[in-house]
Symmetry: C2
Subunit: 683 residues, 2 copies
């Protein structure tokens, strides 16, 4: 069966090669503008400095955990072969590397996208999109290669690879959380004093926090999101492979285990082919080429899945399950578009409510955010049931256990949903690149028409960012449920009785964790933003020359405030997904942890949907007003909408996306420590 595994390796290699080609296409563009390069260097330095600090912190934490893992799991049971700890280190390193490279390419793409806007919009789109796709393909490829290699190195036992998932997950949580705190502290601090108090525009070089703000976009949206999706890929692959063990054991066919790897390879091919279809009239609407690419990728993924499933497993039912996953991703994108788009009720209503002040803006946005959780939950519920029944039909066809078949059906649906992940990640990366290009154009004092041109891309970037966040959350929910099923396999739980008090309490505590986590994350941003506001105010006060363009503000000071705040703020919430299952596990045992996983997954899913969509609604309500509605820019309604936007920022860029990782990390952590809770527990 190694022949099939080769396709997985090939897929990974293709992904990396195309990523390298795309990086070359970005980097070869020359930038011939002193001012732009100066700003670019400042952003790059800030971002690198931050990542270095952050990676150091993460390394310390990872080191402690490695020792722990080695002592607990590897020293004795595997005859001295440290599968779990090696996997853990590799997972963490790979995740951080993916984040680093993504950010490196993104910062290079920022300035080139800004510069090219002077000459050709088509080129700006290409650079932004290629930069994003590097992030997408690099993450997918590295995850696929890592897991495939470990699978063959670790005796073809997927249960030994869980360390890789844990490492990726842990590194991702800190990367996203730290990056999220950093970017929002800088953003809010810059806006509150700069825009609101001093009355200078966004991205004005007189604002001391402006470099920190632009650095933040890179460390939060790029490095953070990159790690997030690297982790999603890995979690989904490992979870699905473990679920496949049961089918392989019965049928003797290894394909059930490595099918997830092949599915990922198909997704990579689809994304690479999709790149060729990013065509259309950029001048008219830069979103059209991106949408065309997305549609093409989806079609290629559907074709690829058909060939893959029919050729390897041979069950049309599983293909239907895969389709249900693809349909889910389309539906989630449509729902997110409805809730966050200008043309529909939610954003308009919030914009309208801004006329009566910030309080009604917040209330109306909060109501819309709560409401936006409904349809995604229904869609995920329907796809779970549909794919479960399709899986049962497959099992029935092959004479297998119906429940195992059903679970495999949900796993295939998840693979279907994640098959377009490479391309979606590319779109996601496009957002911060366009955003930063706008910032660089503004700060380097480009003429009006260049800034207007980039603004168009920025608007498209906001759309793609919101859409991909919905998608990331939907797939995180499915991936977490996969991990949960894998957990059950590892600890040999075949039913989980909710009427037992320990499970009931486990569920309750699990449902609580995302709330606790979010509170700490938002509080960290809130405190850091306050420190930033005070620093910016201090600089303006002590150096009145700054506002008169006479003195350069002290950018570095703001960068270091954000850096420090992010380091301090990310540790406490980062412990929740570790300590939560650990405490519950040692008190209530493996069953209680199973219930905790479900509670955390569901409540985290709903809460993250609420925060991500809510934040995007507030953001776009503000932008809608800026288009000239309800008084336009500078009106009272606009001021109210700015408040809503600021409130939404840490929800959609810090807490919300970190929750994606949180629920997967809780599940992955349980996957690793589960066997322990089978033996040691109190009640």
């Amino acid at each position: 069966m190694l022949d099939l595994g080769i396709f997985a390796l090939l897929g990974g290699v293709v992904s990396l090669v195309v990523a390298i080609i795309l990086s070359y296409l970005v980097v070869r563009e020359k930038v011939d503008d002193e001012k732009m390069l100066e700003i670019y260097n400042a952003i790059r330095e800030g971002a690198s400095a931050y990542l270095k600090t952050q990676y150091k912190t993460i390394s310390y934490i990872a080191l402690v955990i490695t020792v722990l893992l080695y002592g607990v799991f590897d020293y004795y049971p595997h005859n001295g072969v440290p599968y779990i700890s090696i996997g853990f280190i590799l997972g963490a390193v790979a995740s951080l590397a993916a984040g680093w490279i993504s950010m490196d390419v993104a910062t290079r793409a920022n300035v080139r996208a800004a510069y090219s806007a002077k000459h050709s919009l088509k080129k700006t789109l290409d650079i932004g999109f290629y930069g994003g796709m590097v992030m997408g393909l690099f993450n997918v490829g590295l995850s696929l290669l890592g897991i495939t290699l470990l699978y063959y190195l670790f005796n073809k036992d997927p249960e030994l690879i869980v360390g890789f998932g844990f490492g990726a997950s842990l590194a991702a949580l800190f990367a996203q959380l730290g990056g999220g705190i950093y970017t929002k502290a800088a953003d809010i601090g810059a806006d509150l004093v700069g825009k609101v108090e001093a009355g200078i525009p966004e991205d004005d070089p007189r604002n001391p926090a402006v470099i920190a703000d632009n650095v933040g976009d890179n460390v939060g949206d790029v490095a953070g999101r990159g790690a997030d999706l690297f982790e999603s890929m890995s979690a989904e692959n490992i979870g699905a492979m473990i679920i496949g063990i049961a089918l392989t054991a019965v049928t003797g066919k290894e394909v059930f285990i490595i099918f997830p790897l092949l599915a990922r390879a198909v997704g990579i091919l689809a994304a690479v082919l999709g790149i060729l279809f990013v065509r259309g009239d950029v001048e008219k609407n830069p979103f059209i080429p991106l949408r065309n690419g997305m549609v093409a990728t989806t079609i290629f993924a559907l074709i690829g899945f058909y060939i893959l499933i029919i050729e390897t497993i041979g069950s049309i039912y599983l293909y239907y399950a895969a389709i249900s996953g693809v349909v889910t991703s389309v539906l989630i994108l449509l729902i997110t578009d409805y809730y966050t788009g200008y043309h529909y009720r939610p954003v308009k209503e919030v914009a309208e409510a801004s006329q009566t002040g910030p309080a009604t803006n917040i209330l109306s946005g909060f109501a819309a955010a709560l409401e936006s959780t409904v349809l995604p939950v229904v869609v995920i519920s329907v796809v779970l049931i549909a794919s479960y029944y399709l899986g049962m039909a497959f099992a029935d066809e092959f004479g297998l256990n119906l429940h195992i078949g059903g679970v495999y059906g949900t796993a295939v649906a998840t693979m279907g949903m994640l098959s377009v992940a490479g391309f979606v990640l590319g779109l996601d990366g496009f957002g911060p690149i366009a955003d930063n290009a706008g910032g660089i154009a503004e700060m380097s004092g480009q003429p009006e028409e260049v800034r207007k041109a980039i603004d168009k891309f920025d608007a498209v970037g906001n759309t793609t960012k919101a859409l991909t966040k919905g998608y990331a959350m939907g797939s995180a929910g499915l991936a977490a449920l996969l991990l949960f099923q894998a957990y059950l396999d590892i600890v040999h739980i075949s039913f989980l009785d909710l009427l037992q008090i320990k499970n009931l309490i486990g569920l309750f505590i699990g449902a609580l964790l995302p709330f606790f986590f979010s509170s700490l994350a938002i509080r960290a941003v809130s405190k850091a933003a306050k420190a930033m506001v005070e620093e910016v105010r201090r600089q303006f006060k002590e150096n009145p020359g700054i506002l008169e363009w006479k003195v350069k503000p002290d950018y570095a000071r703001c960068v270091s405030i954000s850096t420090l705040a992010a380091q301090k703020g990310m540790v406490l919430p980062g412990l929740i997904p570790l300590l939560g299952p650990l405490v519950v596990g040692f008190i209530f045992g493996a069953d209680g942890v199973g219930a905790l996983n479900i509670g955390a997954t569901f409540s985290g899913f709903i809460l993250a949907m609420m925060m991500n969509t809510g934040g995007a609604i507030w953001d776009n309500a503000k932008k809608y007003i800026e288009l000239g509605f309800f008084g336009g820019k500078g009106s009272e309604a606009h001021k109210a909408a700015v408040v809503g936007d600021t409130v939404g920022d840490p929800l959609k860029d810090t807490a919300g996306p970190s929750l994606h990782i949180l629920i997967k990390l809780i599940n992955t952590f349980s996957l690793v420590f589960g066997p322990l809770f089978l033996v040691y527990y109190l009640l």
Copy 2:
């Protein structure tokens, strides 16, 4: 065993008699102030008019459901005896009657408390407290009498009484929801234009929405909360009695079924005795006498429970379980006090964050609100486990099934927690009475010192309101879990496997319902407030004489806007707790509904805690600033805090308290319709 039942009846009668005596003590006070009486009459008329409209709407809905219940449950199975539908009607009528009487006494107490403040603070406290206690005792007494009588009339079969609980629950949801929308629409509308735009003080008679605002306090906080707690009592009693059936069946002792009724009677006696201890220096701090009364009630309840349990069941373990419930209520009060009090970190931090504007105020408050869910969940978890194990010890002692004993232990803990409910309800009623007394004093132009005196009570009222909301939510959570256990008994589910896809999805949908419900409730307030703002603005614009004291504003118009908005806004969210379980039940059967109940209970509990506490934190952060911190009244920080307060209002007074009822209603509804889902379901 009828002899024991007599104690329950006696308890109910004592409760009503003392309530009548207390009403007399309130009503006999003469009010000799034209202006006050005029305002009083306006409020009374508005409140009565509103309740009449609302009760009409509820009657129509109840009528449809009665017919449905009769057709589905009563026509055939009980040989033509319509137990369920009769119970349903009685429950709904009793709940509405309790709400009406509470409100009637409260409005009378309002004006008398305001008037007496001219002469004697002691008298103001007495009137406010007596008015509140009428509400407390009337609700507890009516619920106890109703259930006790039905028990004896309905062949001593608690399962036939579920209709009563359903009726009470449904009426309560609409009362709380409608009242909550009414009061906050009026409050926000009055504040946004009056305080913020026109710059006139709160409760200024020139504000057209001022009467609607004061009416709102009565229909929302009094009639609504009265119905809420009437429903809690009833739900807890019925649930615990059904759980007792299993023990009675094994032991042959009826006491296990009627024990909840006796426990309630003990609670009533404790509350009545507690009234006598409401003493202390009112001038110094009006909170002290109330606290003394609360402590005395708690001690009496502990003594009473000891005698009751030892004399009837004879197990010290169950007494310990009851103590764990009482301790829980104390802990929840302390936690709520920490999160909402001036002297602690959360409120201070939010007040401090107001200095950098409304956005940081909202963020910091939201973080605190999320955080405030942690300790209550931990406390409830601990009490559930402790009481479950104590119940098992009791079962072990008597040679009974351990699980049944454990569940009974949790039921006894719930009874322990609710034993002080009568007194707590009284405290809860004190809040809106003090608030309204302040409003009447303001509007009737009382001298400074009278208003200052009442302000003291108002502050105490805010404290008691926040505390009792925490208590109400804690007990609602426990009561909902009791109902869930009763549901399992009725549909004969002995285990609920979370790994079955239908249960997993049921849980997910259940967790979603509180979010969906809250979104509709907040949106209703938001829309109604907007209509109110426009009306007040219109009146100020078309009649400039209003602000110059020359023309009287059109109060009635604002009252009718709130009334209409509440009627329209309450129907849609009110359908969620009915349609949610119905749809899931017909698709996934009784198991799926069981999982839905748990999902809704847990997510509703956490969400309600977040909203209730969050709202109180914002409210008190504003008050803290008004004490002179961070610039005091009129500063930028204060303006930011006013925004936070407005955002918190519908969370803490509309959505939050309605969620208490929502989770009980979902469970009660399942209790009634459960048997149906055993027979008719799709998957």
